[in-house]
Amino acid sequence: MTDTLNELPPLTQDFELGFTYTRSLGPVLSRFLTGLRDGQVLAARTRAGTLLVPPPEFEPVSGASIKELEPVAAEGTVLSWCWVSQPSSSAPLNKPFAWVLVRFEGCDGAMLHALAADAKEQVHTGMRVRVRWAPERVGNVKDIACFEVHKQ
């Protein structure tokens, strides 16, 4: 039989790779996510005395285990941002929004999350934002529904 493979029509099949994983949290993540559920943002206190949000389990660079968490105000400053004009179905918001890196008040480092805004022109580096809590909270980073503009 001669080789006529190139004449055969291609075959495709759609499939879903799907599973709901169950993740255990350990002490630091557990306290942070419990805090979110209860409407509170907890920061990690490093050995050098700085505060970090979101609290890592281990300090950047030194790698020391984080032991202390303490509450901070649920507001901060945008360090960087980008504008998503066509959100995908998996995005945290279903209309155009910004991804932002937010430095919480009095903290070092920054947290990645979504910022609700009506237009790109409303967003700028250095702007003040605050947490918009999800109506139903279960102990997940999505308990922060997004950030929103904080008008002082």
Binding site: F15, L17, F19, T22, S24, P27, F58, V61, G63
Partner: protein, 387 residues
């Protein structure tokens, strides 16, 4: 010539079905910290990190070295991630050894892990693929036909598999970290356990565990400075062959035979049964003990099951070549880490640190791992002496 390398620290965790007290990073970190403590080193003493685990789909997390860099204090260091299917724990240790043997690094942390409770390994390995039949009933479903063929070829009696299942669980009772502790285990209990894939019963199969295993591999200089006895790496070998090709011998795969010959040659081993004092061999299903006894040259073809029945591989029975004194994969199986546990337990025997399952006076030990369709092999021989 390669530089000498030695295991100077070993760290493991308490293995169990679900380590629900830690995150993935916390689990990996715990083993790594234990290895550092064993070597009496600080994180800053580590020059590079090599991690290994089985498919990313087990945890639903792609290329985890990126996220684990912080927990493993790898920032501004090299970190590399190995994946060679079930043999990965062994291959990871070998890649870590290469780091030191190259002369580039003094002390390398290597860690392998699996947090199987995050998902369901059976699901991850058995999901339906497009245009394919959907008949993969887990790893046991793949290996059981090969085991049946082994039994038919060797005329081995049915109790051989059950005896391995009992023996490894009795060994596990001596190892406080082992996942399964079954003080009442006996042949009748194994025989009464449900049949899964003939001839494999539930208790002839490995459990599904959460766990991590870590080692510090050091240079000759690092070993000299190490407070505890090092395990010198006397040989490392890897071999691969395809899953499926015309005329493939699947029961006694050539890749395993060649890999063993290579590692024995490097370590100066003529007769493995005589020259090795103990071995930690990847036996996820009971019958793989006699099958690997033959494949690894501990006896002639068709004779492996006789060694098992004679108690040659049993520590309490005073066998001459005790296998899997730690309890083996049959007692503890965090898939990606299972190979590294074999390599690490071989090192602990040589270091004289195997506690209640120590084989007295061990000079040379073999660590072994395999994966895929019994097609990927990694092995090392560690010794009490440098050469």
């Amino acid at each position: 010539m390669a530089n000498h390398a030695a295991v100077i620290g070993v760290g493991q965790v308490k293995y169990q079905t679900q380590r629900d007290d830690v995150s993935i990073a916390g689990l990996v970190r715990e083993a790594a910290q234990n290895a550092l403590d064993d070597a009496q080193l600080e994180w800053s003493d580590i020059d590079a990190v090599v991690i290994g685990k089985a498919p990313d789909m087990f945890e639903g997390h792609m290329m985890p070295e990126l996220y684990l860099a912080d927990a493993l204090c790898a920032t501004n260091k090299p970190i590399l991630r190995v994946h060679t299917a079930g043999s990965v724990g062994g291959s990871t240790a070998i890649v870590a050894a290469s780091h030191v043997q190259s002369g580039v690094f003094e002390r390398v942390l290597t860690v392998a892990y699996e947090k199987q409770s995050e998902s369901n390994a059976m699901w991850a390995l058995s999901s339906k693929q497009p245009f394919a039949t959907h008949l993969n009933a887990g790893a046991g479903g793949f290996f059981a036909p090969l085991i049946r063929e082994y039994i038919q070829r060797s005329n081995a009696p049915a109790e051989v598999g059950m005896q391995v299942a009992v023996k490894d669980r009795l060994h596990a009772l001596r190892n406080p970290l082992a996942h399964l502790h079954m003080p009442d285990i006996d042949l009748a209990t194994v025989e009464a356990s449900p049949m899964l894939w003939e001839p494999l019963r539930f208790l002839e199969s490995c459990p599904s565990s959460d766990g991590a295993c870590a080692m510090i591999i050091g240079s000759e200089r690092a070993a000299a400075a190490s407070p505890k006895k090092p395990a010198w790496i006397r040989g490392t070998a890897m071999r691969s062959e395809p899953t499926n090709f015309a005329g493939r011998e699947q029961v006694n795969p050539q890749a395993g035979i060649d890999c063993a010959k290579d590692v024995y040659r490097q370590a100066g081993i003529q007769n493995p049964r005589k020259d090795l004092d103990t071995a930690e061999i990847y036996v996820p299903f009971s019958w793989y003990e006699p099958m690997w006894l033959e494949n690894l040259g501990f006896c002639d073809i068709g004779e492996g099951w006789k060694l098992t029945l004679e108690g040659a591989t049993s520590l309490p029975e005073g066998g001459d070549i005790p296998w899997n004194c730690s309890g083996g994969v049959l007692s503890t199986n965090p898939i990606g880490a299972s190979g590294m546990i074999r390599f690490a337990e071989a090192a602990q025997q040589v270091r004289g640190l195997a506690g209640d399952y120590q084989v007295e006076g061990t000079q040379l030990a073999l660590g072994h791992a395999y994966g895929g369709g019994a097609q990927f092999f990694s092995m090392w021989v560690v010794g009490a002496e440098k050469q």
